[in-house]
């Protein structure tokens, strides 16, 4: 009875239902099919997983049963659940000799596994064996698997066999072998580069299937390198002609069209080959014209081929007759009732107007209809067309339309896209400044968070510089219209952060420029912003600084104090740091640090060792050894709970660099670079707990693991000039992964200014991007150098401010624990040039400090007073690396760039701050606070004094 039921159900269920399938399987499929909700389906699948987990690993499962289990696994994964417990059984099934089971096994494996899965290695062997099989169906099954599972590492294992199969007597095998090569080409083009002639050869295969398949790899090859395949134009044309003339077997016909899919691919290839090549194009005109004439325009497939013809015609060298034919087809598409054809028509129109712009006019109404259509797909396609049609005469309408649509949708992906299109068009075609500002306002208002930060910078630049004409009146009109519109907008709740930054910057820069609004009015507005957006630190910083002096965020405090310091300078100084309306002027950099020459000379005369470039330094054991002395100190960023080590290290460190340090027994470091690695690892706080002996032993193991990446990181590049120049830009990217804690490089020894220009450029270009963090440490050091160079010609005061900032910063982050605070003689490598900024302070600092700074050339001194601690540490700790030792990157970025801005003549404070596209996040601030506490320093109370001291 039961059995009868099953048979009945099988008969009812499908034409060939019950084909060797068990009742269990039928039940499962039936219950999945009848599931009324996702929850119910999930319940069934979860139950199925339980069952299978139990059953699949039972011994002696009949093969047919096993195949069913595998298909049930496929079901589980298809319905969104994990079936990884059964992967191995699918792999085992590929070993089976029966074709059906083998192919099912391969199928399941290709559905389950990515080509880098560990189990693949178990299959490669089977594939190799199957490729040799006498049964061509097994070979085909294996080739299918090759196309899915072989990655660039396993290509060599099967490549020779696949190449052999290109000559197989069965066309199905040749076809799949070609596609396997196609796959290899995707995975690793170089692996098959010597086999490209094979593709040409297979193009002439007797079997149209093989020829058709060969078009796929050829299309890819031609896309990459058109010129090498120009000789094939005639072959392609003749193949296309034959296809169009129905020379291919009837089996390839589809809805009375001869091999339409092959025709389409050939047309795509011809479009590539004929693009910008009159000669090649001329060979194609006849055949394309024929197809235009022959195509059945009543069927979908006919229209698909016609559309491809239009694409081809608009890509190759123009031919009036063909363009006419194309225009006819387009107008038929656009007049059709079918949305699909309209869509194709709009797309085709967009291609053709590049060549004959006049054809758009006759379709105006159709285009407007499509734009008004409620169908999003059609609408977007039409916007695409409008974008291509935009001129300065129609930009207002088009952009307004786009913005309206942008406001109406929720799809962030498309919103971003269309916003960037709006910006692009507005920048390119804006008829008036006023309109431009209004448009940008709208874009920012509605898609501000999605707009690239660069757009904001462009906007600010535009407002600052005007449109380039030497018309000051127009510029100031632009500015006041911007201010006007922003004053209007700022009342709106919830403006995007980027937009607010722009607004605040414009207010600060030009808010009072035309005298219409009083400073206090503008300040009041900014205060409102600060309050309204108190959780957005970047905006907050820009808005109002004074109020924030008591803030919990040290970064905010820092900025506030700096600003206060700047503001309290006399008018002349302020003018020189922040010239009016110069926000976009470039800042000159003294690359060679020539102003240091006299100082270097002086130091040399006083007995300092001359600078040895890093490249010449290998084998100078004493230096590296010496540097490794730094370890214990540097590693102590955390509180220590255990006994301090013997006073050995400090003692040796007092010895001037020239002498060999005796305490490095444990790590005989052969080269300076090596020692730096050690050092970096050492400064990870977690290792700091042991005494110096143990510490180094442990490092030995760690070093290898971490050594490499840090070595090539930009941080290490900051630490020495020669290395960083050689590695240049790439380093910046590679550093992204480097643990920031491992970045404590302390052996900076030299002319950081050598890398300044590229790095600065990079910094500028990265400013808007998300991955700018690595950048800053480097630029920081240059900026210090640069700052001092500038300051030399300018007033002393700003320079002092800068250096003291630097100093405080260093103090906060860099200071070793109190017991080691014997800072007069921090373990220093001689770093004469990098010390220089501090030397320039001479006039401002008292004598003790000066000596302590100068000292680092070679001689040690006794402990200076508290001020000297501020200055001394960074000087000793090599100013360039000082910033690196900060645990949080974005923090030092802000500070350092601030430094540069303050000194380097960027407009006013508002401007300076606006540039910090990536405001410090709360986490950084917290980390910083924690760090400060660990150090036992409270900058809050000391900073003001510092400033007043320095500034007199």
């Amino acid at each position: 009875m039961e059995q009868l039921k099953t048979i009945g159900r099988e008969l009812a269920m499908g034409s060939q239902g019950g084909f060797g399938q068990s009742k269990e399987f039928l039940e499962l499929v039936k219950s999945i099919g009848e599931a009324r909700s996702k929850a119910e389906e999930d319940r069934i699948v979860l139950h199925e997983i339980e069952t299978l987990k139990r059953r699949i690993s039972e011994p002696d499962i009949p093969k047919r049963k096993m195949k069913e289990f595998i298909i049930r696994l496929v079901y589980i994964e298809m319905l969104g659940h994990d079936a990884s417990f059964g992967y191995i059984h699918a792999v085992k099934m590929t070993h089976d000799d029966t074709l059906l089971l083998k192919r099912t096994g391969y199928l399941a494996v290709t559905l389950f596994l990515n080509d880098d899965h560990d189990l693949i290695i178990l299959i490669v062997n089977t594939i190799q064996k199957d490729l040799k099989s006498d049964n061509y169906l097994i070979v085909c099954a294996a080739l299918n698997a090759v196309c899915r599972l072989i990655n660039d590492e396993t290509i060599p294992a099967v490549l020779p066999q696949v190449v052999d199969l290109l000559g197989h007597q069965k066309e199905a095998v040749r076809k799949k072998a070609i596609m396997a090569l196609h796959r290899f080409y995707h995975k690793s083009p170089s692996s098959v580069s010597h086999l490209f002639p094979n593709f040409r050869k297979r193009l002439c295969d007797n079997d149209p299937g093989v020829m058709g398949a060969t078009l796929c790899p050829l299309f890819d090859l031609i896309t990459v390198d058109v010129n090498s395949y120009k000789d094939l134009v005639l072959s392609f044309v003749s193949i296309l002609k034959q296809v169009a003339e129905r020379r291919l077997p009837k089996g390839y016909d589809y809805h009375q069209m001869p091999a339409p899919f092959i025709q389409i691919r050939l047309l795509k290839i011809l479009a590539l080959l004929g693009s910008g090549d009159k000669l090649a194009s001329e060979k194609m005109y006849t055949v394309v014209g024929d197809i235009f004439r022959k195509c059945d325009s009543t069927s979908n497939i006919g229209n698909a081929v016609l559309y491809e013809c239009i694409c081809c015609v608009s890509s190759i060298y123009p031919n009036p007759k063909l363009l006419e034919a194309a225009a006819d087809v387009i107008s038929r598409f656009l007049k059709s009732d079918s949305h699909n054809l309209k869509y194709m028509g709009i797309d085709a129109l967009g291609r053709l107007i590049k060549i004959s712009p006049e054809i758009a006019e006759q379709h105006q109404l159709a285009v407007i209809d499509c734009l008004e259509d409620p169908d999003d797909t059609l609408k977007r396609k039409t916007f695409e067309l409008l974008y291509k049609m935009t001129k300065s005469s129609n930009v207002e309408v088009i952009v307004d339309r786009m913005i309206d649509y942008m406001i109406s949708i929720n799809d962030n992906h498309y919103k971003t896209y269309i916003a960037s299109r709006c910006v692009e068009l507005a920048e390119q075609f804006a008829p008036s400044n006023h309109w431009f500002i209004q448009t940008m306002n709208k874009v920012f208002e509605h898609a501000g968070d999605l707009v690239n930060i660069k757009v904001a910078h462009n906007l600010m630049r535009l407002i600052a510089e005007g449109f380039g004409e030497d018309d000051d009146a127009a510029d100031s009109q632009l500015r006041s219209s911007a201010v006007e519109s922003y004053l209007h907008i700022i009342g709106e709740p919830k403006l995007p952060s980027v937009f607010l930054q722009v607004i605040c910057w414009v207010f600060g820069e030009y808010g009072t420029a035309d005298g219409k609004y009083s400073a206090s009015y503008i300040t009041g507005k900014l205060c409102d912003v600060a309050e309204a957006y108190s959780n957005d630190e970047t905006v907050k910083c820009q808005s109002l600084v004074e109020e924030l002096s008591a803030s919990h965020s040290t970064d905010l405090q820092q900025r506030a104090y700096e600003l206060q310091a700047v503001v309290s300078l006399d008018a002349h100084a302020v003018e020189s740091i922040m010239p009016l309306d110069a926000s976009c002027e470039d800042i000159e950099i003294d690359k060679n640090l020539s102003f240091l020459n006299s100082y270097v000379q002086q130091s040399l005369e006083n007995g300092a060792r001359p600078y040895i470039p890093e490249s010449q330094r290998s084998g100078v054991l004493d230096i590296s050894n010496f540097r490794s002395q730094d370890q214990p100190e540097a590693s102590m960023h955390g509180l220590r709970f255990e006994a301090y080590e013997l006073p050995k290290a400090p003692v040796t460190s007092r010895i001037p660099p020239a002498s060999v340090a005796p305490s490095t027994e444990l790590v005989p470091v052969p080269e300076p670079s090596y020692s730096r690695e050690t050092h970096q690892v050492a400064s990870v706080p977690s290792i700091s707990d042991a005494g110096s002996t143990e510490l180094r032993l442990r490092l030995d193991g760690v070093q290898r693991k971490w050594g490499k990446p840090t070595y090539s990181s930009p941080t290490s590049s900051t630490s020495n000039a020669s290395q960083s120049t050689s590695n240049g830009v790439t380093q910046v990217d590679s550093a992204a992964n480097v643990n920031s804690k491992a970045r404590h490089t302390h052996d900076s020894r030299k002319p950081q200014a050598e890398i300044t220009p590229e790095k600065q450029k990079l910094a500028a270009s990265l400013f808007g991007g998300p991955s700018k963090t690595e950048k800053r440490p480097t630029s920081a050091s240059h900026k210090v150098a640069k700052a001092s160079s500038h300051a030399a010609e300018k007033s002393q005061a700003p320079k002092a401010a800068v250096v003291s900032n630097q100093a405080t910063l260093d103090k906060i982050n860099h200071q070793p624990p109190p017991d080691l605070l014997d800072l007069g003689e921090p373990t220093v490598t001689n770093s004469a040039p990098s010390v220089d900024p501090f030397q320039q302070l001479e006039g401002l600092l008292d004598p003790t400090q000066v000596t302590s700074t100068v000292n680092h050339g070679a001689v040690a001194t006794e402990a200076p007073d508290i001020m000297a601690l501020y200055v001394g540490t960074p000087a000793g700790g090599q100013s360039s690396s000082a910033e690196n030792s900060l645990p949080s990157n974005s923090y030092d970025v802000n500070l350092t760039s601030e430094l540069s801005n303050l000194t380097s003549g960027t407009t006013n404070a508002g401007a300076t701050l606006t540039q910090f596209t990536k405001g410090p996040n709360p986490k950084d601030a917290l980390e910083k606070d924690a760090l400060v506490r660990q150090m036992g320093v409270t900058p809050t109370s000391q900073n003001p004094n510092l400033f007043s001291d320095l500034l007199g």
Partner: protein
């Protein structure tokens, strides 16, 4: 690449067949299927059979209770893909005789085998029904 994935989904949004030509994790697949099924199934008959999704397009076609959804790159000929779907259905019709959702469910592997013959590396490589079905028929005979 051309074709990125082929999905068959019934009108309740339940997946009946899924073939991806670029690897996606289970979670990615689930998310993607959810998104596009919601998008496509909400559309009416008059609207285009093409939907833009992220940086690719979906061409879909409905047969009775079953939707065929094909994700393609942006430079692919949408009408041709639409006809490719029809060719696939015709081929299955040829094999199963008046194919229905249950045929695909009960013979999932065979539906996959047909796709394997028709599409490789995301490219349409075979459009002759005889050539597509021959290996499958031979296999059936041999077992």
């Amino acid at each position: 690449m051309g074709i990125r994935f082929i999905l068959m989904v019934n009108k309740q949004g339940q997946t009946r067949l899924a073939q991806y030509y670029e690897y996606l994790t289970l979670e990615e697949r689930r998310a993607l299927e959810g998104e596009i099924v919601r998008k496509c199934l909400a559309r009416n008959e008059q609207q285009c059979s093409f939907v833009e999704h992220r940086n690719y397009k979906i061409v879909y076609r409905r047969y009775a209770s079953l939707f065929f959804l094909v994700g393609v790159d942006n430079d692919e000929n949408e009408l041709a893909i639409l006809e490719f779907i029809h060719l696939l259905v015709e081929t299955m019709d040829c094999h199963f005789g008046n194919v229905c959702e249950l045929d695909i469910m009960f013979h999932l592997e065979k539906a996959h085998f047909m796709l394997e013959e028709m599409v490789m590396n995301g490219c349409i490589v075979e459009t002759s029904k005889t050539n597509i079905l021959q290996p499958i028929q031979l296999m059936e005979k041999s077992s």
